[in-house]
């Protein structure tokens, strides 16, 4: 491992950031509790990170969280946008990639495997 490589990565990434700018637009949260992991949440999280990286989506933040009390529907993925939070269930690797391409990139939320859609009021930020 060469830690010096990180300096080069930083220089490149900061140059890209200066060019693009702007705050994050969407946050994607993957449930990584025991039942989520057992249901395949690792592959789901990896697929989302991979798809976001491959499409160079610099305004998308990916994070993870613990159990959501929705064990039967794991893996759970939440898409947080300024006006709503969409919660998808049973998100396998292929569906995770569709969430990124169709919902996040094309702005068309999927109608399948939706557990809940929460509207977010102005005084209740989604992020």
């Amino acid at each position: 491992m060469k830690l010096d490589e990180l300096r080069k990565i930083r220089e490149r990434a900061e140059a890209e950031l200066r060019l693009r700018g702007g705050p994050s637009r969407v946050k994607i949260v993957v449930g990584m509790g025991t039942s989520g992991i057992a249901a395949g949440a690792r592959q789901t999280l990896r697929a989302i990170l991979d798809e976001v990286a491959r499409r160079d989506l610099r305004d998308v933040v990916v994070t993870q969280t613990g159990e959501k009390g929705l064990a039967a529907q794991e893996p759970i993925v939440e898409v947080h946008e300024p006006t709503r939070i969409t919660i998808y269930g049973e998100v396998d690797e292929a569906f995770a990639r569709r969430i990124v391409t169709e919902h996040v990139v094309n702005g068309r939320p999927l109608s399948e495997r939706v557990v809940e859609v929460r509207e977010v009021r102005d005084d209740q930020p989604a992020h």
């Binding site: 990180l6 990565i9 900061e14 990584m32 509790g33 025991t34 992991i37 057992a38 993870q64 009390g69």
Partner: protein
């Protein structure tokens, strides 16, 4: 359900994150036939009266969850492979979980994709510092996210090039200490 050791490890790390840990230390050590998994954190800790119940599969502190299978399954795996386990409070706060497994035991689950499991978990936990220590009879390999963050500044660990760097680094570390599947 939990098929490999990487999944067990991810579950332990998730417990630490849920306890509000700001620093999580992960240690994997292979010494002869013994394989030691240790995760310690500076999270909220487990009150003494509850410590004895953490390996009860019908006990959980998670809201909305009726069972807490993660630790009981790890305990079962440790015992089935002739090993031992301990869940204890750290004197400075937080919790330490240790499981010793028999590496050559036929019931030991496979190692699984350690780098592919740990790196996404580490990278998507902003504000939490991780130390990963891998060791064997010959030496120790160490990775600290604090050192990495110092070098990358405001660039997130989820940046694609940083993710690749972390996965490669962890795989190099596993090779360096001979931590690989050999059956």
């Amino acid at each position: 359900m939990i098929e490999d050791l990487a999944m067990h490890l991810a579950d332990l790390v998730e417990n630490s994150l849920r306890a509000g840990a700001r620093h999580v230390s992960i240690s994997l050590s292979r010494c002869g036939d013994s394989f030691l998994i240790e995760v310690s954190d500076d999270g909220a800790g487990i009150p003494q009266p509850e410590l004895a119940r953490v390996v009860d599969p019908f006990y959980t502190t998670k809201r909305g969850s009726k069972v807490g299978l993660g630790l009981p399954l790890l305990v079962q795996t440790a015992e089935e492979t002739g090993g031992s386990w301990a869940v204890e409070p750290r004197p400075e706060g937080g919790t330490r979980v240790r499981a010793r497994l028999g590496w050559d035991h036929p019931d030991r689950p496979p190692l699984g994709d350690l780098a592919g499991t740990l790196v996404p978990l580490i990278a998507t936990s902003p504000g939490v510092e991780f130390t990963v220590e891998l060791s064997d009879d010959r030496g120790t390999w160490r990775l600290c996210t604090g050192e990495i963050r110092e070098r990358i500044g405001d660039i997130p660990l989820t940046h694609p090039e940083v993710l690749c760097f972390l996965e490669e680094a962890l795989r190099e570390g596993m090779d360096a200490v001979g931590l690989k599947e050999d059956r």
